[in-house]
Amino acid sequence: MLGDVRRRDPVALGWAVVLLVVLLTIAIGPLFAQDPAHIDPLVRLQGPSGAHWLGTDEYGRDILSRVLGAGGVSLGLGAVVTAISVVAGTLIGMYAGFYVRADGVVMRLMDALLAFPPLVLAIALVAFLGSGATSEVVALAIVYTPFLARTIRGTTLALRGRGYITAARCAGLSGTKILWRHVLPNAAPTLLVQASFIYAFALLSDAALSFLGLGVTAPTPTWGNMVDEARPYLMQEPGFIIFPGLAVVIVVMALNYIGDGIRNLVDPRSRAVLDLERLRRRTPATTDQKEPARA
């Protein structure tokens, strides 16, 4: 399996390794790094140095340890949002796709939620819920659940017509048992692809919300509010702004590549497209040849 992946999609595998390294650094790094809350006014707003690898912020706090600490908060928050959206979206999508009677009402509600631009809905929800980690998680989960519900409903609808579902029904299995034993395992690959994209979106939204001062606020560092804190000092110490943003870029790029990689593994259509691209790259395509002179 892993060898297969390495051959088919080395780029996605590479990014998976990058993500793993980032996760490990964020998990283990703080044990060795300085206290992210340690204030040292003597060294405020300094560039990278031996003592502070990524420099210091306006209170003389070490940016490296703050980026690592913020990583824990941001990635954890995104993971909770993704987990809630996946569980809620799967339940709603599966039952709506399987029970026609529930479908109309539930999916209309999901459509209504999808009618809001995601970030705008998140901003409005957090505005009414009040800022903070809990309300941010609730808001983002409300925003992303409908996306998953819609996809899983589609998958369930497609699976419902399959022979083995009919067979299970004839064998007298209850709807719930069919859903959990036969539909869920077959929807799992789609779920995995969606989850990695939702995680990427959730990280970007979390960064945006906390940048706007609506999500997790200081003193708890997140990648988003670190950029916001750095904003007044962008002329004095640009590095202060660069690193937390770069962290978001790397993780979100990794998640996108991993999502694509899983999709190429499980979706025959996108695999065919990928193979075609490889083939065209390897052999000189007709387009690269000189066109024969036309008579």
């Binding site: 705008v120 901003i123 990427a200 979100v252």
Partner: protein, 314 residues
């Protein structure tokens, strides 16, 4: 065709009523009295009571919902507390810059994405083609607020060639407007163009598997003609849908970009009204943005029906 339109419009009305209802209950069911939030920490009990009554918050939830629905149908979303004007009026006066950003971004993104994707289909072995995927994934992954600040550092602070904030109406001063729009538009285009390139590349590659291309080649058509005349029109169809659906992401990006570049559109108005706890205005702006998003997607879907005969069968 008319039946399709009627069905879609009916769906739209149902969605909008639900959207409004969701907003109403979000505002009214959440813990805390909006009147308290609006007046701040130093309000007296009498003041709170007065505002609670004025806002109708002392009535039953169902009665409040009835009043709200009746007013909403007639286009009355109450008065903004900060502006002391009808919400609809405040929203209308701020919609211009937001619409301008959305339209310009979409047009430029399409102008960039279509040739790039077509080129990469025609030249699969070129280095530009190989670079296209990483660059577009980067475009999708980069947080727009961060890109905006990095561009401000480079072009506004270090090179001093572009203004770092502000908005000039293109009606009064077109060159000034263009100069002020360059950075915000670059930020927004980065995400949109990347998304369009990815969608289009995928659909072009999927389309390459089709047999009609072989037929065209067999009939002696030049490769350029095959790609531009046969493949591209078919591959563009999925892009139409993405232009509509990605408008949601774009509108979110516009909120942030307007905030950073101090552009007086709906996005900065939304954040401003949140900070001043002007809840009727927050509700109105959110509904207005959702309304335009849904209506544009309806138009996109209808366009889709007009262009692609296969959809009409359903």
């Amino acid at each position: 065709m008319p039946a399709v339109i009627l069905r879609r419009v009916r769906d739209l009305v149902i969605t909008l009523v639900l959207v409004g209802t969701i907003m109403f209950f979000v505002v009214h069911l959440l813990p805390g009295n909006p009147a308290v939030a609006m007046l701040g920490t130093f309000a007296t009990k009498a003041q709170i009571q007065q505002l609670t009554h004025a806002l109708g918050l002392d009535q039953s939830l169902l009665a409040q919902y009835g009043t709200w629905l009746k007013n909403a149908v007639t286009g009355d979303f109450g008065d903004s507390i900060g502006f002391q004007e009808p919400v609809t009026h405040v929203v209308a006066t701020h919609a211009g810059p937001t619409a301008l950003l959305a339209v310009v971004t979409t047009v430029i993104s399409l102008v960039i994405a279509i040739p790039l994707a077509a080129y990469s289909a025609a030249r699969p072995r070129s280095w530009w083609t190989r670079l296209l995927t990483p660059v577009s994934v980067f475009g999708i992954a980069v947080p727009n607020f961060w890109l905006a600040l990095v561009l401000i550092i480079v072009f506004g602070v270090a090179l001093r060639v572009l203004p770092i904030a502000g908005y000039v109406s293109p009606v009064t001063d077109l060159p000034g407007a263009v100069v002020h729009l360059v950075l915000p538009i670059i930020v927004l285009v980065a995400g949109q163009a990347a998304l369009f390139v990815r969608t289009l590349r995928e659909s072009i590659l999927a389309e390459l598997l089709q047999l009609y291309l072989r037929t065209a080649r067999a009939k002696g058509a030049r490769e350029r003609v095959v790609i531009l005349k046969q493949l591209l029109p078919n591959a563009l169809i999925p892009l139409i849908t993405v232009v509509g659906t990605s408008l949601g992401t774009l509108l979110g990006g516009i909120v942030i970009v307007e905030n950073i570049f101090v552009i007086p559109g709906l996005g900065s108005l939304l954040l401003q009204s949140i900070n001043s706890r002007d809840y009727p205005l927050v509700e109105g702006i959110t509904l207005a943005i959702a309304l335009s998003y849904v209506v544009i997607n309806l138009l996109v879907d209808l366009l889709y029906v007009a262009i692609d005969p296969r959809v009409r069968i359903r």
